[in-house]
Point group: C2
Chain length 344, copies 2
Amino acid sequence: MVLTDRQVLILQVIVDDFIRTAQPVGSRSLSKKESISFSSATIRNEMADLEELGFIEKTHSSSGRIPSEKGYRYYVDHLLLPQKLNTSEIMTVKSIFAERIYELEKIVQKSARILSDMTNYTSIVLGPAVQDNKLKKLQIVPLTADTAIAIIVTDTGHVENRMFHFPSNVDPGDVEKMVNILNERLSGVPIVDLNSSIYKEVATLLRQHINNYDLLLNSIAQTLDIPSSEKVFFGGKTNMLNQPEFNDLAKIRSLMAMIEQEDGISQLIRKNPQGINVKIGRENNNTAMENCSLITATYSMGEEKLGTIAVLGPTRMEYSRVISLLKYISADLSKVLTDLYQNK
Amino acid sequence: MVLTDRQVLILQVIVDDFIRTAQPVGSRSLSKKESISFSSATIRNEMADLEELGFIEKTHSSSGRIPSEKGYRYYVDHLLLPQKLNTSEIMTVKSIFAERIYELEKIVQKSARILSDMTNYTSIVLGPAVQDNKLKKLQIVPLTADTAIAIIVTDTGHVENRMFHFPSNVDPGDVEKMVNILNERLSGVPIVDLNSSIYKEVATLLRQHINNYDLLLNSIAQTLDIPSSEKVFFGGKTNMLNQPEFNDLAKIRSLMAMIEQEDGISQLIRKNPQGINVKIGRENNNTAMENCSLITATYSMGEEKLGTIAVLGPTRMEYSRVISLLKYISADLSKVLTDLYQNK
DNA sequence: TTTAGCACTCGTGGTCACAGAGTGCTAACA
DNA sequence: TGTTAGCACTCTGTGACCACGAGTGCTAAA
C-alpha cells in the first residue's frame, strides 16, 4: 500500500504533466523526461501498479493515464512544493492595496478580480460576516410621511440600510429621542443580537420617555431583524469556459447554473475551517463540481475570522500556484484589515 | 420593393414558425399551415422573391428559409400583434410588488429575476441613476481616529456610503457643525452637483464658523466627488446557454464574456431613448451580439426617467411576448415608484 | 397565375478502413 | 530479480464513401 520512491516520482510527473497539458500521459513520453531514467516498459509496469492502487486511471483501455481524485489528493498532501511567487505576481497582488481604499467590501471585491485574473480560474470571496460586527451607530432618516430609512454603521465601517414603514402617528421628536437612546445603549452590541437587546435592555427606558413607544419600537426592531446575508463576490465567472475539460455543453450548463445560483457555492465554501483547504472533485459532495476542485483560505482581522477567499478550478488545476497565491493574498488581506480597523 | 399581401403573410408565418421551432422553414411545411391556401411551388416562388429582397435567407443552398435581420426588423415594425398576457403571467408580474418592499433597488432586482424567469432569456435592469437624485441627508460617522464614513441619503431612499480619511487635527465638534451646515444648505441639491455646490454656496459660511475648514472641506468634497456608478442587475445570465442557437462554444464564450463584463452591455442599453426599443443582431454594433436581440424599456417616476429594463435574447426571440411583458412591467414599476416616492 | 413534377443540392448519419498512440505480456538480458 | 526490448492487441480519431431525406429551382401543363 505504501508507494515506492519510484512510484511517487512517476505519480508526480504524471500529475504535473497532466496539469500542464490536459492530455493523458503515456509511458513513452514519460520515459523521455529528464527526471526519469528508466524505460517505458518499466514505467508501464509501475503505472499498472499505480492504477491498481487507484492513483491514476485510463480514459479508455489503450490510452495514457490521468490522475484520479485519489491521485490528486496524494499529490496535494505529499508532493506539493510550495511555489514562490515571482516579483511581477507579487506586484500584482500588492496592487490590490495600492489605492487608498478604505472600504472593506471594495478591497475584498478587488481581491476576487485580481485572483481570477492571475489564475484564469473562478474566484469567490465571502465578504465579512456582518452578523458579528458590532453596532457603531444607528441613524434614522425620515423620507416621506410614513417611510424612513434605518442606517446601521458597524465598527468595521460596513453600512447597512433598510427602508421601513412608519406607524402613522409618531412625533418626529420622539423618533429622535428614541434613536439617541438606542445609540447610547446598543453601541458595541453585535448586529445579530440587536433585536433581542432592544427588548431586553432598552424597552423599559423607552417606555418612560416616549409616547406610543411600543408601535415605533416594534417597527424598528422588525427592521433590524432582517438577516443581513453575507455578501459573495465572484471574479472570472466565465474563466472555466476556457478550460479544455469544459468543451462539453452539458458540463458547462450545470457548472454555470451552480455558479449563477451563488447560494450553493457559498455554502460549500463557508463550511471550510480556518486556513487553507483543498477539496478535490467529489469531495465537494456536489454533482456540478465533479470535475472541479475548490481551494479556500480564510482571512481575518486580528484573531477574528472574517471571511473566506476561494478559487474554483478544474480538478486539473495548478494546486501549487493557487495555494501560494491564496496564502499570500489572504495574509496580506488580514494584515491590511487588521491595521485598518484594529487600532480604534 | 413593397411587399404584396401574400409575401407579407408568408414572411409572417416563416418568422413565427422559426421563432417557435428554431428550424429553417421549408415550402412544404408552410403549405400545410391552415392560414395558407396555395401550393408549395407557389410558396417557393414567393420565397425566392423574399430572399432576393433580403427578408429571408438560406442556411445552405437546399435548406429551408430563416428570417434575416431585415426580416425580423420588418416583422417587429409591421407584423407584431401585441400579445395579451394571460392571468397567470399577470399574477407573476404582480408578485414583484406583492411584498412590502420599499427599497427601490430590491424592487428593481426582483423585476430582473422575474423577467428572466418568465422569458427564459437574460434580463438586465439599469438601476436608477443616482446622479439625478437629490440630497436628502448627509451624515458623517467617525470610525477610528482618522477615518470616518460619509453617508448620503437621497430623496428616493438610496443610501450611498464612502469611507474617507480625516485630516488629523480636526475637532469632532467642528465636524458636527459642518455637517449641520451642509445639510441645511445642500438639501435638495442633485448628487451630481454636490461637489460644486459645496464650494460655491457653503464655503464662505463655513469659513466663519470652523477652524481649519479648508482641510476638512476638501476631504469631504473629494469624497462626495466619486462618481456613483449606476447599478446593473442581471437575471438569468445563463439562460442563453439553453437556447439552441448557442450550442457552439465559441459563441457562448464571446456572449458570456460580454455579459460578464457588464460595462459594455450597460452602455448598449443606456443609450436607448424613452419607451420600448428593439435592436436586432448587428444593429447593436457589437460582434458578441451578432445573434442576439436586445429589447429595452424605460421606467420612470412621474415624468422623470429613472432607469431601463431590458431583455437580451437570441435574434429568434419571442418579440411579441417580451415586448408585452416589458411594457407591462415597466408601467407597473413606474406606477409603484411614483406612488411611493412622489408624494413627499 | 398557379401547380405538379422532376432533377439537383446539401447536410446528416452510418459504415469502413486505416494510422497512431498506447497498453499488457512474454521472453531475453544484466 | 529487476529491467528492457519486442510484439500483438485495443481504442480513438479521421477521412472516404454512401444512402436518405428535406428542400430547392426550373419547366411545362392546367
